[in-house]
């Protein structure tokens, strides 16, 4: 489709910053459900930002100029050291610009980018006990980051897509599912029958062709879609009714449903029962387990494709491990089932289960014991390993189950804590302060009482 030609002013407007502001996202489902969102913490931010955060130059900020309809009040916009705002309305019916601070999510983004973590696809094993998680890949890998797919290839490339026009059935509530059936699915009955006719015709043609090849005969004339009778379709439906996998595949292709991961363990009911155990076909789509993401799976948090880079230290050279970061223990382990919550770069992460350094039963680990004496809570160094955005838009950071002690010492040293690790700390160059120099050179000048021969020595 050729774009309509626009006037010069229109072209300018289309390229302007105001027009490039994205439309706000719907608020996170959990917060939207509660009329007044109350979190456990009064400083908690919503799971993901819904509005674009804007900032302005320092000179313009002093004038209140944020590039909006009117200058913003200086009292509330000039005092912050993190000038970030989210604009809820450029102009409202009350003739005011509706804005709030956007520093919470803005700083979270900056802090996350400081970690240098790539965003990977969600892990198939959520509480993985294995040390290596080979299931994670960068969300920018070419074969899984594609949205421009022709309609006929959609079913074929189902394992590589993250955007589907249909819903992810496992994430729907029963009410939503019923509504979906009534509003979206039922009106498409005839379309589905036509879709089945196509399928039947293709199947018939393929088998006929194969048979002809086997018998070295001439190819029979093709069966057209129109020649398939309604009775044939009904018969086919009866056939596949008991074959869940095939039926799901057909329905999923027709409605473009997001793929579902079949349950990993088969319940005893199914094993004991007489009926055949038929499950949805297994899929290799990384979003099948927890649902496809709402936005691009990176959520714009990080654009680096891999974490396989090496950090360099000015003195110690290239480092084997990435710099560990200090995490705050938000909640120690309460029981066997609740792992400890850690705050890393403004995001909440859970400590790894299983036998690891964060999970020692002996000793006074801050992850097991809450120390009320500690100002600001306990902190410990952790090594973030993977980050992924789940289908709710929340960022999940997975930490390694151990921290390299050497890397921790280097990290401590870089921020001025701890002793020199390998060599000696650089010598401080002794500098003569200005005050000393001034005093030194002013011995000949008048010094009040001393001019009169009165010394203060004794």
């Amino acid at each position: 489709m050729a774009s309509r030609s626009v006037s010069p002013g229109g072209a300018l407007l289309r390229a302007s910053r105001m027009f490039s502001m994205p439309a706000p996202l719907p608020p996170p489902a959990q917060e939207a459900a509660q009329a007044t969102f109350r979190s456990h913490s009064d400083t908690a931010t919503s799971a993901y930002p819904t509005h674009q955060v804007i900032t302005t130059l320092s000179h313009a900020r002093k004038e209140g100029d944020w590039g909006l309809k009117r200058p913003l009040p200086l009292r509330s916009t000039t005092k912050s050291s993190t000038p970030m705002l989210r604009i809820k309305g450029i102009d409202t019916i009350e003739q005011i610009t509706d804005y709030t601070s956007g520093a919470d999510h803005g700083l979270s983004l900056l802090k996350f980018q400081e970690l240098g973590l790539p965003i990977s696809t969600p892990s198939s094993r959520i509480s993985s006990l294995s040390r290596s998680d080979s299931g994670a890949r960068s969300v920018f890998d070419d074969d899984i980051d594609c949205t421009d797919i022709a309609a006929k290839d959609r079913a074929k490339l189902v394992d590589q897509r993250w955007r589907f026009s249909g819903p992810w059935l496992a994430g729907m509530s029963p009410g939503d599912f019923k509504k979906y059936l009534a509003e979206k699915v039922r009106p498409r009955r005839t379309a589905f029958r036509n879709f089945l006719k196509e399928k039947i015709a293709r199947g018939l043609n393929e088998t006929a062709k194969e048979r002809a090849l086997d018998r070295a005969e001439e190819e029979p004339p093709e069966v057209t879609v129109e020649s398939i009778l309604d009775e044939q379709v009904t018969e086919y439906l009866r056939e596949v009714r008991n074959q869940n996998a095939i039926l799901y595949q057909l329905v999923g292709e027709f409605l473009d449903l997001a793929p579902l991961k079949p349950p990993s363990d088969i319940t005893s009911d199914q094993l004991m029962g007489n009926q055949r155990v038929t499950l949805a076909p297994d899929t290799r789509n990384p979003y099948a387990q927890h649902g496809p993401p709402k936005t691009h799976p990176s959520a714009g948090l990080s654009y680096i494709r891999t974490g396989a880079y090496m950090e360099n230290h000015p003195v110690y050279g290239p480092q084997k491990e990435h710099k560990p970061v200090e995490a705050r223990v938000l909640r120690p382990r309460s029981s066997q089932h609740h792992s400890a919550k850690l705050g890393i770069a403004g995001f909440v992460s859970e400590s790894q289960a299983g036998d690891n350094i964060h999970n020692q039963k002996s000793g006074k680990s801050p992850l097991r014991h809450f120390d009320p004496e500690l100002q600001g809570g306990a902190k410990l160094y952790v090594q973030p390993e993977l980050a992924s955005v789940d289908s709710d838009g929340k960022l999940r950071i997975k930490i390694k189950d151990s921290v390299d002690l050497e890397a921790e010492l280097v990290a401590r040293e870089l921020i001025g804590e701890g002793e020199g690790l390998f060599g000696q700390q650089p010598k401080q160059v002794e500098e003569v302060s200005k005050e000393t120099l001034r005093r030194h050179y002013s011995t000949k000048t008048s010094r009040g009482a001393q001019d009169y021969g009165i010394s203060m020595d004794s």
């Binding site: 006037s7 010069p8 002013g9 229109g10 300018l12 407007l13 302007s16 105001m18 027009f19 502001m21 130059l57 000179h59 313009a60 002093k62 004038e63 209140g64 100029d65 590039g67 909006l68 309809k69 009117r70 200058p71 309305g89 450029i90 102009d91 409202t92 019916i93 003739q95 030194h440 050179y441 011995t443 001393q450 009169y452 021969g453 009165i454 010394s455 020595d457 004794s458």
Partner: protein, 389 residues
């Protein structure tokens, strides 16, 4: 003070520093006059001892100081060399954004990019629109109306032309902007265009009831090169207060009464019309955002520049003897009346003189009482008078 403790108490420096006798004397005399004879020797001994010690200290200090001074030039040279080496490093910022640049040095014409950058395109919330502005509206976005930049640019050019020509024809322009923060804009544009400004509340009736409200305001009569003319006191005492010939209003919504008075007095007006304003309030509309100070500053700056151009053209033409404007009728009448009076007075005086036969006004000059020879001598000097005469 006890004199034997003097040395201890006042330390070495007093005694070591070139022991000037007068100061010592003064010290002693101010403190005590009863020196015990036996202690004098001890004092002298102590003084000598501390003097040698202090002298050594002073020498050391002097040496240290010399060393440092000697070290300074090399350090300074190093510093200068370092500075020279590093001054080429870094980037040079040739053009930086200064918010008040648009007020101090506004452009002569606003391009579409300028208008866009100055937020001129942002109208009000769609529910606040005045349908009469639909011709200026390009569309809506983020729940506000977007004003067409082409419309703004075209209307701004037209208004600038109006301001320029009014200034060229010697008209009196009034710039009005009485929203918060518009004072520097209004004063600057009035300064450029040689016009009047108003950044406070418009007193209602200043046009329709000017004879009462503006009574006693100062007026002056100027010629074509803006020099004040004398001799019009009588006229200025009698004449009515003036009204502007063009009013430029940056916020028409708050100045309804003023614009109404202008309409009644058939004074043309130029106004920034946002999407919620009524465009029929002003004669020459400029559809633009009137809330942003940057937008207002840009539009006002272009108008101020236009006024400046008009004034310059007028003064240049006046130097060439071309005067485009006409003297107001009341002034012409006054001048004619005064001339007529003067002529009539002179005629009456002449008539009276002739009737009385008296001397004319000029009176006698010394030359009238001199002989012709004396006059010649006066004119050419005594030697210049021809002898044969």
């Amino acid at each position: 003070m006890i004199i034997r403790n003097f040395g201890v108490r006042h330390g070495r420096q007093v005694l070591s520093a070139p022991p000037s006798a007068p100061s010592c004397l003064r010290l002693l005399s101010t403190q005590t006059t009863t020196a015990v004879a036996g202690n004098e020797a001890a004092v002298e001994q102590l003084a000598a001892l501390s003097a040698t010690h202090a002298a050594r200290e002073a020498r050391l200090a002097a040496k240290r100081q010399e060393r440092e001074i000697a070290a300074m030039p090399s350090k300074f040279k190093k510093f200068i060399a370092y500075q020279k080496e590093t001054e080429k490093l870094g980037s040079e910022i040739e053009r930086r954004y200064l918010p008040d640049e648009i007020i101090r040095n506004p452009p002569h014409d606003a391009s579409l990019e300028d208008l866009l950058a100055a937020q001129c395109h942002m109208g009000h919330h769609v529910s606040r629109w005045n349908p009469a502005n639909s011709r200026y509206i390009y569309g809506q976005r983020s729940d506000i109306h977007i004003i067409s930049l082409e419309q703004t640019a075209a209307h701004l050019r037209r208004a600038a032309r109006v301001v320029e020509e009014v200034a060229y024809y010697g008209g009196l322009i009034l710039f009005v902007g009485n929203r918060k923060g518009q004072m520097p804009i209004v004063t600057r544009m009035a300064e450029m265009a040689g016009a009047c400004h108003l950044f406070q509340k418009w007193t209602p009736g200043c046009i329709t009831n000017k004879d009462v409200l503006l009574q006693g305001g100062q007026l002056k009569i100027v010629d074509e090169t803006d020099r004040e003319l004398q001799g019009f006191d009588e006229h200025l005492r009698d004449c009515r207060p003036v009204t502007p010939d063009l009013v430029v209003c940056l916020n028409p919504l708050e100045n309804y009464s003023m614009l109404r008075e202008c309409a009644v007095a058939t004074i043309p007006t130029v106004g920034i019309v946002d999407t919620d304003a009524d465009p029929s309030w002003v004669t020459y509309q400029i559809p633009a955002n009137d809330d942003s100070l940057r937008s207002v500053a840009l539009i006002a700056g272009v108008l101020g520049r236009a006024g400046e151009r008009g004034q310059q053209r007028r003064l240049e033409d006046a130097k060439q003897g071309v005067v485009a404007w006409q003297t107001p009728k009341d002034v012409t009448t006054f001048v004619n009346r005064v001339n007529k009076n003067i002529k009539a007075e002179a005629a009456a005086k002449e008539k009276k003189r002739l009737a009385e036969g008296g001397p004319d006004d000029n009176g006698l000059k010394p030359a009238d009482l001199m002989t012709e020879e004396e006059v010649l001598a006066e004119m050419f000097g005594p030697g210049a008078v021809p002898s044969k005469y």
